[in-house]
């Protein structure tokens, strides 16, 4: 019986050992902070709504390590972003650069807001110019309106 239990729990020990080995975090807190700052600007392509800093996906772990090494090599933030976009495209950046293909993405919301506000403005101005008689009375029987009488 005991042998069976041991056999059942043994894999979990092995798993634990493996997981501990797979996280090569740096001991240098400054480097670690720099790395996390950069990683929080990068999208994890496996789980696309997470940054590389947040994600536990294996690729994100690898890319964090890659960022650590690039910082250690003296690469600047811009150079690291260039390194990432050369491999994964602009999609990897949480703040994509402004260019031909991304113009709509950047100005789209503002454009929609301007459009909405202008339509609202036009409607309100037209209504303010309409005569009183163009509106339905607030009261079922206009004759009994206490403010008019």
């Amino acid at each position: 019986m005991a042998k069976w239990i041991l056999l059942l729990i043994l894999p979990f020990f092995l798993l634990g050992a493996h997981a501990a080995e797979a996280v090569p975090a740096s001991n240098d807190p400054v480097l670690e902070a720099q790395m996390m700052h950069i990683a929080s600007e990068l999208r994890c392509l496996v789980c696309q709504n997470q940054t590389i800093a947040d994600s536990h996906a294996e690729l994100a772990v690898d890319l964090r390590q890659q960022v650590r090494e690039l910082i250690a090599q003296g690469k600047t933030q811009t150079e690291i972003f260039e390194y990432m976009t050369a491999r994964y495209g602009d999609f990897v950046l949480y703040r994509p650069p402004l260019k031909g293909t991304t113009v709509l993405l950047w100005v789209g919301p503002a454009l929609m807001a301007v459009l909405g506000i202008s339509v609202l403005f036009l409607i309100l101005r037209r209504r303010s110019r309409m005569g009183q008689d163009q509106f339905e009375s607030d009261y079922a029987d206009a004759g009994s309106d206490p403010h008019l009488s």
């Binding site: 392509l45 496996v46 696309q48 294996e58 690729l59 690898d62 890319l63 890659q66 976009t85 050369a86 491999r87 994964y88 495209g89 602009d90 999609f91």
Partner: protein, 176 residues
């Protein structure tokens, strides 16, 4: 003119439907590769089956070849594998594997079990070459031309249809 006003919300609604409809046909998991049209990233890796053999970009010069990223732990790779083995039999072009973040023994066993369509599999133990190639979802497949330029990338499992409609015509075109 005035009585047509009710068509405005309908028009807006149709535009919205159009956008949402187009959205349904886009797969956010398929990120376009910035590598298309660019020289293939440099690599120099051991062969999976013979550790003494090193394979690099230069070895492929002058040939149109395929790089298929796979791993024994990857379930979608098993899904695409029969199509790849079938394609390999036709000898259309040399197929190289990139064995991504795998154990050598597990990888070799996998090939023994499911068939080996690869001229060689490159052994990318730590996934560095994978990062250089922008790999994020195994399996991935690249076609590289005679000049070492990446011409095509497919993310996810290959299907006989993708091979027939995308890869074979491209290889024919590249080989002139």
């Amino acid at each position: 003119m005035k009585y047509l006003k009710f068509l405005i919300p309908l028009g807006l609604f149709l535009v919205l439907v159009l956008f949402l409809g187009a959205g349904l046909h886009l797969d956010p998991k398929e990120v376009p590769s910035p590598l298309i049209g660019k020289p293939a990233p440099e690599f120099s890796l051991e062969s999976l089956d013979s550790p003494n053999l090193t394979i690099a970009n230069a070895d492929m010069r002058g040939k149109v070849w395929m790089l298929n990223v796979w791993a024994s732990w990857c379930t979608a790779c098993r899904e695409e594998h029969p199509a790849l083995v079938e394609f390999g039999r036709k000898n259309v072009l040399p197929i190289y594997g990139l064995n991504y973040k795998d154990e050598r023994v597990a990888g070799l066993m996998w090939l023994t079990n499911f068939g080996n369509p690869y001229t060689h599999s490159l052994y990318d133990r730590d996934g560095r070459v994978g990062i250089d190639w922008g790999v994020y979802g195994v399996p991935e497949t690249f076609i590289i031309d005679q000049n070492g330029v990446v011409r095509f990338k497919h993310i996810g499992a290959l299907t006989p249809e993708v091979i027939r409609t995308r890869i074979e015509p491209l290889v024919r075109q590249l080989n002139g």
